[in-house]
């Protein structure tokens, strides 16, 4: 018996719908989320179903949206706000870093902020400039923010439910290039906790570590490698913060080789963090240096060049090739 197929946009929509229906304090707002249902239709139908008090459009101001969410959370609500695109969350950066992330700590837990900031993020959609940033490092580096990046539609549903249920703020990164891909999603499967990575593919020879939009790319690379006789495993982080060292390191210790795959520019990135932690925690197990396959340290390119920028199967396999196989079994 298979679960119904839905797109990631539909899975997120379902998570929002279920959360709003179950909990009176959940409110959804942002730019174009109500009448239009969001530019990606992620909030489609929610305004019609739940009305203006639960789902509403705001004036066009991201700092305003996040700042208002802080206040609403201070007054007992669970705001789920949408930033229309990754780069358009930057106007809200001060609110996110100086308030959303810190208020719980600043007040010794007296004020907690159950806010979810949903960000359609990353590239691969042929978008013009400012529409394809992978901005996770900015949030992951900021103490106080839980940062989640689902790679599957089922995870998008389950992790968003968990994010909304969290008493503390969560930045929820939605790989926009997956919004319209269909997968089976069984919403009755218990919500997996935030903070657990998952081994998407077992592999003996090396471990690919990825999250969000890079997971399917890593899986495709592993597929390809298999045809060439190399058995690669794939770990999907699911959440960047908290980071699941246990799952990641168990895999790398088994294979002795790791490649981190992420779309964001590599310098001082989440990929750097993964390479650093794996290097530190799996030191004696490493047969080769941990490689990173990331976006280049350049602005996100225009549509016609984006395939050069994005980590693809070829670049991943090239990196795998450098893992010092000469002294492998």
């Amino acid at each position: 018996m298979s679960a119904p197929k839905m797109t990631m946009a539909q899975a997120i929509n379902a998570a929002l719908r279920d959360a709003i229906a179950e909990d009176d304090s959940v409110v959804v707002f942002g730019e174009d989320v109500a009448q239009l249902g969001g530019v990606f239709r992620v909030t489609d139908g929610l305004h019609a179903e739940f009305g203006e008090n639960r789902v509403f459009d705001t004036p066009l101001a991201e700092s305003g949206i996040v700042g208002m969410a802080v206040g609403m959370a201070m007054n007992g609500m669970r705001p789920v706000v949408e930033m229309q695109f990754d780069a358009f969350a930057y106007p809200a950066f001060e609110q996110i870093v100086s308030h959303v992330a810190k208020l719980g700590n600043r007040t010794r837990g007296k004020v907690r902020l159950p806010i979810v900031i949903r960000i359609p993020y990353a590239g691969g959609i042929g978008g013009v400039e400012h529409h394809c940033d992978s901005s996770e490092a900015y949030y992951a580096h900021t103490p106080g923010l839980t940062v989640v990046a689902p790679a599957t539609n089922a995870d998008a549903y389950g992790l968003l439910r968990a994010a909304i249920a969290s008493p503390d703020p969560v930045v929820f990164l939605e790989p926009k290039k997956h919004y319209f891909s269909k997968e089976e999603v069984d919403v009755s499967v218990p919500v997996p906790p935030i903070g657990r990575a998952v081994v998407r593919r077992q592999g003996r020879d090396a471990t690919l570590i990825a999250y969000g939009p890079s997971v399917p790319v890593a899986l495709a690379a592993a597929e390809q490698a298999a045809t060439e006789g190399r058995d690669l495993g794939v770990v999907d982080l699911r959440s960047i913060v908290p980071f699941d060292d246990e799952t990641v390191c168990a895999e790398v210790r088994r294979t002795g080789r790791a490649v981190v795959v992420a779309e964001a520019p590599g310098f001082a990135s989440v990929a750097s963090e993964i390479a650093a932690r794996v290097g530190e925690r799996c030191f004696h197990h490493l047969e080769a240096p941990v490689r990173r396959v990331t976006g280049f340290d350049v602005p996100y390119p225009p549509p016609k060049l984006e395939h050069h920028f994005l980590p693809g199967v070829d670049r991943i396999l090239d990196a795998v090739d450098t893992l010092q196989w000469e002294d492998a079994a």
């Binding site: 009448q35 249902g37 004036p59 066009l60 305003g64 013009v128 400039e129 602005p299 225009p302």
Partner: protein, 335 residues
């Protein structure tokens, strides 16, 4: 702040009414100049149509049309001198073209070849801004630098009604007023920010009324009325050039098409609403006026249309041409 000033910020100035009649007390340029304006309107309209077609053919990734706003597009460019600067948004392709930049270069962005396809410095046209309202501050900077250098440059900074809600709009207006920077802030109030109607953006008596809070003059003008726009914007440019500082001008206009081709306006507005705006078409009233004034006959119209067709053909050819993209550009000019 007098009652008259307040009124000017709230009641739209008009020159030609919807039937092409001169509004009482208003003046319009002499017919020859207005014919030139009409020519530009026709070009702008044709460009909008051509780009729409190119999107449908898959030759452009996306196009935010300024159909219905052509008078704004033409006026904001025509009031500028050569050394002045224009700061446009994604919706202002026609204004950039009206300023003299080859539309094919402008469309580089929407074709996906590169981010900015023209040389901003050569044309004194900033790259089309996507992050809303951010460019207004750049406009203030260019203007302030010009003043420090003793140049009489004026900067025309464009944004939409939605963008006025952003913090950067506020900071830009305030900086300009405090530094008496020679900037004209030109808000094309086309009533929507994607799906969000003006009423959710502001409950002020007008967007131009925001000028009061910055201590600068604010004017509201019929945004489908080319002569009125040229007059109000022209006066603002003259004030700026004369060292009298910035002005906020709001054009009362309407976005006839969807936000972009990717948008479906029927989800948030009625056809009736759109239909109401059609008779207010910015081309129509100038055409009727010129026809009645005897300055535009079939022959001249035919010439104008032919020239616009030529431009459209060049755009088709240019956008259709197979321009190579260089992956090396990815790494160029980053640091």
């Amino acid at each position: 702040m007098s009652a008259g000033q307040l009124k000017a910020a709230i009641t739209p100035a008009r020159s030609l009414d919807e039937t092409g009649r001169l509004v009482r007390g208003a003046s319009v340029p002499d017919p020859e100049a207005l014919v030139e304006g009409y020519r530009k309107l026709v070009f702008a309209r044709r460009l909008n149509e051509q780009c729409g077609a190119l999107v449908r053919q898959g030759r452009l990734a996306v196009y935010p049309s300024s159909r219905g706003q052509e008078a704004c597009q033409v006026a904001c460019a025509s009031v500028l001198a050569d050394g002045d600067w224009l700061f446009p948004t994604y919706r202002d392709t026609a204004a950039i073209a009206a300023r003299g930049v080859d539309p094919v270069e402008v469309l580089t962005l929407l074709r996906g070849d590169w981010h900015c396809g023209y040389d901003p410095d050569e044309h004194k046209v900033a790259p089309q801004a996507t992050p809303l309202a951010t460019q207004l501050l750049h406009a203030v900077g260019v203007a302030h630098a010009a003043r420090l250098k003793g140049e009489d440059t004026v900067v025309m900074a464009l944004c939409g009604d939605g963008a006025t809600s952003e913090g950067d709009f506020h900071e830009a207006c305030n900086f300009a007023a405090v530094f008496r920077a020679p900037v004209v802030f030109f808000v094309q109030n086309n009533k929507y920010a994607i799906s969000v109607p003006l009423a959710r953006q502001s409950v002020a008596p007008s967007l131009a009324a925001k000028a009061i809070g910055y201590g600068m003059p604010g004017f509201r003008v019929d945004g489908n009325d080319l002569p009125a726009l040229e007059q109000v914007l022209g006066e603002a440019v003259a004030r700026a050039r004369g060292g009298e500082g910035p002005t906020l001008v709001e054009a009362d206009t309407y976005r006839i098409e969807s936000h972009t081709n990717a948008d479906d306006a029927s989800r948030y507005r009625t056809d009736d609403e759109v239909t109401e705006w059609l008779p207010r078409d910015p081309l129509l009233r100038v055409r009727t006026y010129l026809r009645k004034a005897g300055a535009l006959d079939d022959d001249l119209e035919q010439k104008i249309t032919a020239a616009a067709e030529e431009m459209a053909a060049a755009v088709r050819a240019g956008v259709g041409a197979d321009t190579p993209v260089d992956p090396g550009d990815l790494f160029a000019h980053v640091y």
